[in-house]
């Protein structure tokens, strides 16, 4: 189990982490979600031992590891741009962690066999003799993962694991990583700025902003019960209705009477729904509404009345 207690970190005079506390259960898959500058990567790097906190502690199985160097923490870290060693083959990259061991370094043949095994696990068997420059982005990502797994980490940390990949590869790799996690059950934390990624993969999501944890919860809780206006905005789409009501586009429906008047500006098909863009007559705020594609679409220029099915209030 990983526990982070009251972590604080400053760069020069800027606070990047403020009083962060978090606990991760064995086998959990955790997402640190936030915009750039939210401190999520710094938190990940402190847990890894790549960065040092100013205050607070990091406990692994109840033991404070703050004084341990990254070498001794036994964490697998997958870097954003993979940081593969260019002058080594894929197999040498994967075997690196075993080959630098001072004590119980396995014999060469065993390291090679282990590298092959891991490459099979990440579905790259047969590519061991290639160099990183000869691989695609998705393949490099999996080599980086295999390399991190080779040291049999107690904890796997991934920094923006899909950040540098194009959309299609990203989606495939996401599915694959989720399956791999299920199969191995290794406690894992990954950093992302992509809410979809976080909601799809993680058991629990930690939403961060400006060095503070805004909410910790399951994807369902984060989406349905955002704890703060920031979470409501950052995760999913949100409309501002008067009286501090936050409503998702699909939680609005058209009513004959009552509700709020909306002047329709534009209507287009978005997947299985009509997306209606309009302006709230009262406040002039822009509103987005998703309507069942089976129902007739309102015409631009028309005024409709909408009412929330469910909403979240954050005061005035």
């Amino acid at each position: 189990m990983i526990r982070v207690n009251n972590l604080t970190k400053r760069f020069d005079d800027v606070s990047v982490l403020r009083d962060i506390s978090l606990s991760v259960e064995p086998g959990e898959f955790i997402a640190l979600l936030g915009p750039s500058g939210s401190g999520k990567t710094t938190l990940l790097r402190i847990i890894a031992g790549l960065e040092f906190q100013d205050e607070g502690e990091v406990l692994v199985d109840g033991r404070d590891v703050s004084g341990l160097s990254v070498r001794d923490r036994q964490v697998g870290f997958v870097f954003q741009h993979y940081a593969l060693f260019r002058h080594m083959t894929v197999a040498q990259n994967v075997g690196f962690g075993l080959s630098v061991r001072k004590r119980n370094r396995p014999p060469k043949r065993e390291i090679e066999a282990r590298a092959q095994e891991l490459l099979r696990l990440v579905q790259l068997d047969g590519l061991g003799k290639r160099y990183p420059s000869q691989l695609s982005g998705g393949q490099r990502q999996r080599v980086a993962l295999a390399r991190a797994l080779a040291i049999e980490p107690k904890l796997l940390l991934l920094d923006e694991p899909f950040g540098a990949l194009d959309a299609k590869v990203r989606k495939d790799l996401r599915r694959w990583l989720r399956d791999l996690h299920r199969q191995m059950g290794l406690t894992s934390i990954f950093v992302t700025h992509d809410q979809e990624e976080a909601l799809e993969l993680a058991d629990r999501v930690v939403v961060m902003d400006h060095g503070v944890i805004e909410q910790i919860g399951t994807p369902e809780e984060i989406y349905m019960e955002p704890a703060t206006p920031f979470v409501s905005h950052f995760v999913g789409e949100t409309n501002h209705l008067p009286d501090g009501l936050h409503v998702r586009p699909h939680d609005l429906r058209i009513v004959e009477e009552g509700g709020e008047a909306v002047l329709v500006d534009n209507v287009f098909r978005k997947g299985g729904v009509w997306r209606v863009e309009g302006v709230l007559s009262g406040t002039g705020e822009i509103v987005e509404i998703d309507l069942d594609a089976g129902s007739p679409a309102p015409q631009p220029g028309a005024t409709i009345r909408v009412q929330p099915l469910r909403s979240k209030s954050f005061g005035g």
Binding site: D13, D54, G56, E57
Partner: protein
């Protein structure tokens, strides 16, 4: 060890990479022993001379003539190099022609060729009976043993500074801005003077300043071709050597101090200029 609490005004960010103490220590000690302490002796010695002695030695008529010659020829050579260095960089970046790679490599020759070798070669070429000198002499043009010869040697020395400083900027500029200028109706000459030249001007200035600074201090390639007549073709570095040979250590020190101050001033101005530009361009 709960907290590795460090004071806020810390001097360096903590890092997991080991070896800062070792590498920083080695760097600073080696830098101090080889560069800083020896350089400091010049100023120490100057300070010990007293102001009037310093002025007498550092600004004598002979010294002033030497500065004029050194700075004048270095500036002249620098200007020639700005024009031709830009032309060569332009040709190397923009056009393709047979042997381009070899020509590109040849530009660095002055960096690689020992200055004394360049000096005797240039003298042989431009002496009155030399390869080129024999044609210039009947025309009344004397190159070797005149300020013109010194300028030619400094053109040789300074050329790569300008080419190598302009080349990457020109290459990075890309054709898009020029295409944009063309779509807006600019002619080729307008595009060059209003778009290209302003973009590469900082690189040109940097190249000129580096060539100039190098030219002012240059010794090996110049002394053979210069003739070394006091007051006429005696460059400042040669005057230092002459003073040293006469055991006039104070004289040598005073002249060296003046030259050092000028070089450092150029370096500072250049750094300041580049910082200012970076800030303004937000890059």
């Amino acid at each position: 060890m709960t907290s590795l609490s460090l004071s806020r005004g810390r001097w360096r960010q903590p890092s997991v990479l080991p070896g800062f103490g070792l590498t920083f220590g080695v760097s600073v000690i080696w830098l101090s022993l080889i560069v800083l302490i020896p350089l400091a002796t010049i100023f120490l010695r100057s300070a010990g001379m007293g102001w009037s002695d310093f002025v007498a030695a550092g600004f004598s008529d002979r010294a002033l003539a030497a500065y004029r010659l050194s700075f004048g020829t270095a500036a002249a050579a620098g200007l020639v190099n700005v024009v031709f260095g830009l032309l060569i960089a332009w040709v190397l970046v923009r056009y393709s022609f047979p042997g381009k790679r070899v020509i590109g490599a040849l530009v660095d020759l002055p960096f690689a060729l020992p200055t004394a070798v360049a000096g005797i070669a240039l003298t042989t070429i431009y002496a009155p009976s030399g390869w080129i000198g024999q044609f210039l002499d009947p025309l009344g043009v004397k190159v070797a043993f005149t300020p013109l010869g010194i300028t030619i040697a400094l053109i040789f020395i300074g050329l790569p500074f300008v080419v190598r400083s302009v080349e990457p900027v020109l290459a990075d500029m890309g054709l898009e801005v020029e295409e944009a200028a063309a779509t807006l109706g600019a002619g080729r000459a307008q595009t060059f003077f209003r778009i290209i030249l302003p973009s590469i001007l900082p690189a040109l200035i940097t190249g000129f300043a580096m060539a100039f600074a190098r030219g002012v201090g240059e010794y090996g390639s110049v002394i053979f071709i210069s003739g070394n007549m006091p007051g006429k073709t005696e460059i400042a570095p040669l005057l230092i050597v002459t003073q040293l040979e006469q055991y006039a250590y104070d004289g040598a020190t005073a002249i060296a101090t003046v030259m050092l101050v000028v070089s450092f001033a150029i370096l500072l101005l250049l750094n300041g200029y580049q910082t200012l530009r970076r800030r303004r361009m937000g890059a």
